[in-house]
Amino acid sequence: MPGQALSYARSVARIGVLALILGSALLGNLANLADLLRIAPAPDREMVRRDRRFETLRSSLPDRATLGYVTDSADPAESRLRLMLAQYSLAPLLLAPGADRALIVGDFSQSDVAAMGRELDLTLVRDFGNGVALFARPQR
């Protein structure tokens, strides 16, 4: 009978759609897991490395201060990234980009921080090694 055939067709369609949606969702889920199991990246030590790089500087400063921040990166995006990473390591100290503050953190990719300070007309207070330094703005 036509009514029965229509009902049968509807039921088959519903089962098909149910199977399709469950299959698609499961496929995505399992493929995501397989992808994660296939790739095994090295542990992320970058933050730990950055924290260690700034640790001595942080411990030699008071708990609350707003410092300037300078870097030797020419790329604005990289400079901004380095500022953000330095801020994360040096929290709760605040870093304001530029050399307008009395004390300025230098974050350089090279170790001759004194030379960098001379270029920027800043007085070196202390070299913490690994391209990290504390400068003072010269009194005018």
Partner: protein
């Protein structure tokens, strides 16, 4: 996870469970699904309540220290004491959910349960792997939320510097629920451990899955919950984002919890028991305490509630319901207002938009085209395999049909989600940033915020397999109730 951190998680859960039981007492045996819902709710609400307590402690005491733990334990004892004292009061019978029948056959039940089991194991394993690998979270995690947590945790009496506009790029105006959860975790753990934020992110992800699946099971039965659960976990972006340590994860919990509670209240609570509404108000306010989008969610939820409840129940009943919603929301809202006015600087979107022509942008058709194009690309959740889930859901809805007699709760939930999406559209249209950049860096996350609530509303609205006649067997009879 060290024992201190584990204790902190347990205490937050206990606080959440006490609050849920106090505000929404259950009448006798509640059944497995409702019990799971209440437990999952307690997991997330507990974190929210203790984050609020941390903020109050900071404002009153002036700094974070281990005195907070004593303060929190004291408040927990008070909550538990209240719970024991009020336990004997009579509870309206309508707090018990109506039993819902509707499985087509044992083999389909078993198959769907197996599918859900496989989906849950795969999803939890994926989340676990990523949580382990991404120790410090994705970009915004260390640049915004964990930075804020560090600044508060290390800042002593200078904790307010964490919200200074010197670090305007880290959005110091963002509500502080997630950073405060992390601060609290570190306090219990005895130091800054990457386990803290990882545990919190994982907890909210698991709680979201529990809330959505359990709520569907309560309202539409086990079979529908299994289907909804598999679909929910088919969003691979959500699974990956669960380990990001972003505030989108707690936000999606509070959005789905508030929506589910609205619907549950309408289905089961009588006029006497408005506990689910109080919790819905609390969850919505905690969403606002989590991200600025949460404030939009709270506003549209109240609007949708007014639009539907006032019309269907009358103003008097609406007034009673509004009082219940407000009683849950107001304490957190008061804190948020204090935070925004006395602690945080103005938001960058607000600051920049007021200086530019929002109306000109609203009238620019090119912006609508850009947003529409990106939405068509991202919303179907096509990740290169199979077919986009959203397209399949549309087909599923067509094949199974919509329940025609629906509670006002479901209508409120649907309207809330629509208004929320409209709000997001308005933000994109008027954004002061480059539109393509703004969409590229945020749309996927906005979609994932509403995904669990959308799945919940969809599977409550669409007929369950047991509700329709099948050609292969008898229409199953519903259980009495």
């Amino acid at each position: 996870m060290n024992s201190g951190l584990f204790s902190g998680v347990l205490i937050a859960f206990a606080a959440g469970a006490a609050a849920v039981s106090l505000l929404w007492p259950a009448a006798g045996r509640t059944g497995a699904a409702l019990s799971v819902f209440r437990l999952a709710l307690a997991m997330g609400v507990g974190q929210g309540i203790t984050a609020c307590m941390m903020f109050v402690f900071l404002v009153v005491h002036g700094r974070v220290d281990r005195t907070y733990i004593f303060f929190e334990l004291l408040l927990l004892l008070i909550l538990l004491g209240l719970y024991v004292w009020t336990r004997r009061r009579r509870v309206a019978e309508t707090a018990r959910p109506r039993p819902f029948g509707g499985s087509t056959s044992v083999w389909l039940d078993g198959l769907l349960a197996l599918a859900l089991g496989v989906a849950v194991v795969a999803a939890m394993t994926s989340i676990g792997i990523l949580v382990h690998r991404i120790a410090y979270g994705d970009w915004d995690a260390w640049a915004i939320y964990n930075l804020r947590a560090r600044s508060v945790f290390r800042g002593g009496y200078g904790w307010r510097d964490a919200f200074s506009d010197v670090v305007v790029w880290s959005h110091p105006d963002y509500p502080p629920l997630l950073p405060l959860c992390v601060v609290r975790a570190w306090l219990y753990a005895g130091g800054e451990t990457s386990d803290g934020p990882r545990a919190i992110g994982g907890l909210f992800a698991v709680a979201t899955i529990g809330v959505v699946c359990a709520a569907i099971a309560v309202l539409r039965g086990r079979v529908q919950a299994c289907i909804g659960g598999v679909v929910l976990l088919g969003n691979t972006f959500m699974l990956r984002h669960a380990a990001s340590q972003y505030a989108d994860v707690p936000l999606m919990f509070f959005v789905s919890a508030a929506i589910a509670l609205l619907v549950l209240h309408d289905e089961f609570d009588s006029g006497e028991g408005a506990g689910a509404l109080v919790l819905a108000g609390l969850a919505a306010a905690l969403a606002a305490w989590t991200k600025n989008e949460g404030a939009l969610f709270l506003a549209v939820l109240m609007l949708a509630h007014f639009a539907i409840a006032a019309r269907s129940r009358g103003l008097r009943a609406y007034g009673r319901q509004l009082a219940a919603l407000a009683s849950g929301a107001l304490p957190v809202l008061a804190m948020l207002i204090y935070f925004k006015s006395a602690v945080a600087p103005a938001g960058d979107l607000v600051t920049l938009v007021t200086g530019q022509s929002a109306f000109a942008k609203l009238a620019d058709p090119a912006r609508y085209m850009t947003i529409g194009r990106e939405l068509l690309q991202r919303a179907p959740l096509y990740d290169g395999l199979g077919i986009g889930i959203v397209y399949l859901l549309a087909l599923y809805g067509l094949c199974f049909g919509i329940r025609t007699r629906e509670s006002t709760g479901v209508a409120q939930a649907t309207l809330t989600l629509l208004l929320l999406c409209a709000g997001y559209l308005a933000v994109y249209l008027t954004t002061p940033y480059d539109l393509s950049w703004h969409i590229r860096t945020s749309m996927d996350r906005l979609l994932v915020q509403v995904w669990p609530a959308f799945v919940f509303a969809f599977f409550v609205l669409v007929r369950a397999p047991g509700e329709i006649p099948w050609a292969f067997g008898k229409v199953p009879e519903r259980s009495a109730g």
